[in-house]
Symmetry: C2
Subunit: 249 residues, 2 copies
């Protein structure tokens, strides 16, 4: 038996998120089917991040165990031939049998993209959130600065979850605008609560449009109350860029 | 009666090109329907560029005539509410009744995007042509230099057309690579023959991968024979960026 690690990119538009659920198509179910087809074994991947419905990925991580002796670095190519075009495994390698993608310390990077202009653009509609109103990026950066470091992010966690430890660390939060009117918010952290990135984005958009003063972000953080933060920004603007593990085997 | 000019962006993926044809959905037919719905008149747009099936646009131009008195600069907003998400009118203005988008001298700009890396990326699949092999951009630029200026581009015109005057002018041809492994070929010209941009791209890809020497592009141009040029690159990598009219009313 061997354990293989996959780096998986996908367009989340047509999937009900990562995790298997009855009656709907998910990234996990499609990967399991393609692996069963490739190796003729019953295979169940373990994913690092259970992305929500509509969220995209450039580098989610998954492992699976197999009896197959196929060269580990060829698995990605063989698998891509059995996957739909909106899922593409970027690479594959062998890892120790006890390497688990959710039980290692790692840094996760997310990007949230906002199309900020007068008119929507058809080719950006699936991967950006369209936002008509002017955004002041300097104000957004001032607000974002309060979120850097280790904090209790309870205000930025969906009230629907009952997780107890809501302390997380944000290592960096960069906001930039490109020539195509796309504002990108790039966040690196030690792990994220449910909807945390999207609630941070919704809050920073309120800062960018002048509705919330940058220093209010500190008050929101300290309130430890989801109702104080801004709205949850739509899933389609969010992409899980990748995970860096401390101990890469 | 007034004439309104539209600047139209679209994702060509789900359309059989611009021009109305029986039994299929085209950009032109969808625009006509939305205009009929908006103004209650039978309206027929006249397009500047009849883009092919699968080709995208950021700035195609169209005009139509109407009895309506709606403020010309509001037409784009009202129209977008009646259009599918993959077509978005970027702006609208009034022009003289005799202003015709194909009977004015203009400069057209096209971009062709190539995803040049080891693995496909799901979110680039609709707007780029995936190309695995290494591309030498310096060699491609040397080859492209022979195409600048006024030439007979018969070798770069689909053999299926019977157009007589195949002389056109290319004002600029820029090739660049961004951090996301996307190679962009940007061409400005006085008008383009059928499939001309896509055949130029197919020829330059052969130069980039080492199959064709840059100076061969001169021989291909002088041959005035479609069979000497490279293959026609796929439609999905091509976007009509815009048109600049000499006399903008």
């Amino acid at each position: 038996m061997r354990r293989i690690r996959l780096t998986v990119a996908y367009d989340g538009t047509n999937y009900h998120g990562w995790q298997i659920q009855p009656g709907v198509v998910t990234i996990e179910s499609v990967l399991n089917e393609a692996l069963r087809d490739l190796f003729g074994e019953e295979i169940q991947v373990i994913g690092a991040s259970r992305t929500d419905s509509g969220v995209h990925a450039r580098g989610n991580v998954a492992v699976f165990d197999t009896e197959s002796r196929m060269a580990a670095d060829r698995v990605c190519f063989a698998l891509n031939q059995r996957l739909p075009q909106d899922i593409r495994v970027q690479d594959s390698c062998e890892v120790p049998l006890d390497w688990h993608p959710r039980k290692q310390r790692c840094v996760k990077t997310y990007e949230y993209k906002i199309l900020n202009r007068r008119m929507e653009l058809p080719d950006a509609r699936l991967y950006t959130y369209f936002y008509y109103y002017n955004l002041d990026l300097e104000q957004m950066r001032r607000g974002a600065a309060y979120l850097l470091g280790e904090h209790d992010f309870k205000s930025f966690c969906s009230a629907r979850t009952q997780i107890e430890d809501t302390v997380r660390t944000i290592y960096s939060l960069e906001i930039s605008r490109n020539q195509e009117d796309v504002v990108t918010i790039r966040i690196k952290g030690s792990g994220f609560l449910y909807n945390m990135v999207r609630i941070i984005v919704g809050t920073l958009l309120n800062v960018g449009n002048g509705h919330t003063e940058p220093q209010e972000v500190l008050r929101i953080l300290e309130a430890r109350d989801r109702r104080e933060a801004g709205p949850t920004a739509p899933a389609k603007g969010l992409t899980l860029i990748g995970m860096e593990y401390e101990k890469t085997p």
